[in-house]
Symmetry: C2
């Protein structure tokens, strides 16, 4: 392991990378990476915590411009469909994807109860075991969500920082 740094590259610098990746992907697949989609992705990628759709709408709105939640949802649909953003079901919120994986398969989200940061990793061994378990149960998986809530390493290192 230890593409750990890679899994952490949200957070400002990561936004640039995420957008660059999105542009490349959209060029490859002949998709439209429009202004709104870019802005929604930028907003999400600029955070290490998940953002709600309404948070995003507010963040993109300005005195002269109002972005409605419905527009954000549409952009998020596009972005999640192509794996650029992930939905955190336990929070009704979204994070930008830190990987360049082809599919949403095998992802694990680590949600820190203390600082709210979301870390995204893959766990092939867990996937393998899960696949075997599902096969034994006669269940054919299509998609899955695996979200773990707890305390992240950073928060465990410095116990009492508010």
């Amino acid at each position: 392991m230890h593409d750990h740094a890679a899994t952490h590259d949200h957070g400002c610098g990561g936004a640039q990378a995420a957008i660059a990746r999105a542009e490349r992907l959209c060029r490859e697949r002949d998709l439209q990476f429009t202004r709104l989609r870019r802005e929604v992705l930028a907003a999400v990628a600029g955070q290490t915590r998940p953002m709600g759709a309404y948070d995003i709408a507010e963040a993109l709105s300005a005195p002269g411009r109002r972005v409605a939640a419905v527009s954000v949802y549409r952009a998020l649909d596009f972005l999640t469909e192509h794996g650029l953003v992930h939905r955190i079901a336990s929070r009704n919120a979204f994070v930008s994807c830190g990987h360049s994986h082809t599919d949403g398969a095998g992802l694990v989200f680590l949600i820190c109860r203390n600082c709210g940061t979301i870390d995204e990793t893959t766990a092939p061994e867990v996937e393998d075991q899960l696949g075997r378990t599902l096969a034994k149960a006669g269940f054919k998986p299509i998609s899955r969500i695996l979200e773990v809530e707890g305390e992240c390493g950073a928060c465990l290192s410095r116990p009492a920082e508010a």
Copy 2:
């Protein structure tokens, strides 16, 4: 395998069992298993698919009696807190617990995309692997959700039943 029947014992007969288990548990812990809580549990346990809180409220309401969603939420809070009912995060809905586990740990929910049935199992091997993965990442887990969407064995056996 093939405690499969056991994992399936929602579904009408299972409602009786679920309520019996709940009564026992509440007696042991000196909790109040009130009429509303019993009815909410019965409603959820009588289904193999997850029910939304508003669905439950409607199911319990009758010409002479209106059960508000907020009451259902309170009952569900109680039931989930004591492991009698589980929340399906990906559906914003609830299913009755088919096990008598002490804790919500290690559960896997199998959600059939075709028939909507939810099957609940445990997967110790997956748990073990996940625990190791989290330890390596320096993350201390407190709770987790693992929900798999796909096609259940029953639906795979009879491909074209509407």
